[in-house]
Symmetry: C2
Subunit: 256 residues, 2 copies
Amino acid sequence: MTQKPLIFVTNDDGITAPGIRALIEVMNELGEVIVVTPDRVHSGKGHAVTIHNPLHLDPIKIDEGPQKEFKTNGMPVDAVKLGLAHATDRKPDLLVSGLNHGVNNSINVLYSGTMGAAIEGAIEGIPSIGFSLDNYDWNADLEPAKHYMKKIARQVLEKGMPQGVALNVNIPNLPLSEIKGVKVARQAMDKWHETYDKRTNPFGRDYYWLNGNFSYEDKGKDTDVYALKNGYVSVVPVQFDLTAHRLIKDLKDLES
Amino acid sequence: MTQKPLIFVTNDDGITAPGIRALIEVMNELGEVIVVTPDRVHSGKGHAVTIHNPLHLDPIKIDEGPQKEFKTNGMPVDAVKLGLAHATDRKPDLLVSGLNHGVNNSINVLYSGTMGAAIEGAIEGIPSIGFSLDNYDWNADLEPAKHYMKKIARQVLEKGMPQGVALNVNIPNLPLSEIKGVKVARQAMDKWHETYDKRTNPFGRDYYWLNGNFSYEDKGKDTDVYALKNGYVSVVPVQFDLTAHRLIKDLKDLES
């Protein structure tokens, strides 16, 4: 008898987020599921890792599914590192992160804990996918996302994935019947314009909340932003070799 | 009269670290210096950003230099975002991050707060450099690093830098006379093998400390690791477009 594929599930919204519960439900149909995820929301933690503090890894039972679950006080990348080291004896066949409550397209991939975890999976040599929904509401309809998470995860389990990349999958906030399909795209080169909101606390001390507008500067039609706006699920292959290879030659002057 | 170049200085080891004090000292020779940096050590925070908590930005005076200094309770990327928004009226001509106490070559660039800050500078369109020393000791000899930080920063101020990248500069732990020069290199594709150290706390609960061995798997002679091992300062151009462009075509099957 063939062993079922082992699927490692994590996220950055914490173990009780509706997004990860939906992802677990779908992955239970495709394989044996192990869940290791932060015990709380860790939005914006990118590829951060805990070095100077001790981490916990506690078994937990949230619902009646067959999955094994653990929570940790660490961040998303910690959940992957610690989970692979101490929550499973065999290497997963697939790592999935999400479903994030909020879009992670364009430059947001850098700040995203959902994608930090997926990239960490890729570094470990595991085919890895981050899933995000273009809706921040925890009461959003997750059914269309479930359809596409299952479809893409099954394709990756069957056909494998190139080494050195994770997939960044963003799902539009549309009913299933209005989603036009999947587009493989590049990361749009947009940016945030930060406008910190300055306030004064009850003790007279100033403080700042991060705020800002997202500026759509990349007008390309081959981007993840364009695909999403036009009703497609966007898939970007994201690499962890950050070298701008084309510039190595141009910068040789620095050697003099 | 020409205005002096404005140099924004930050780090991930906190405002009192010897590494940033050395960097400030050298930058004071090249321009007008503004320092905005975390109030404590934030190693391993990568590109993490604070979303759900308020941030402070407090003027502080550490030494007698001419620089203006601020500390924040945020992480390195927060220091850049908040500093650019509220600590200066003009756009810096250069952003420098470091000098980090510890090497940030190879895959470590992903976890590095030093480089997270530099990459954030590059996203903001500022020529940006992260400097790290291959020595974790706060009592290390910083003189050789000072020489190369000044040399490279001056070159970038004079000649500019391509858009879309930050420089990841690592300095070997050698006397100045033994450093052979500068090599522009690619990020080595090595990895960490994590071995979390499992212990039990005084209350009987298990906890884990991140530990591990760095595995030199990339045998290339054009890497940052190779350059450093052979006595060179390594410079890698690091980009924030994470798209693996060459794979977009290969993944078109996912659209079916």
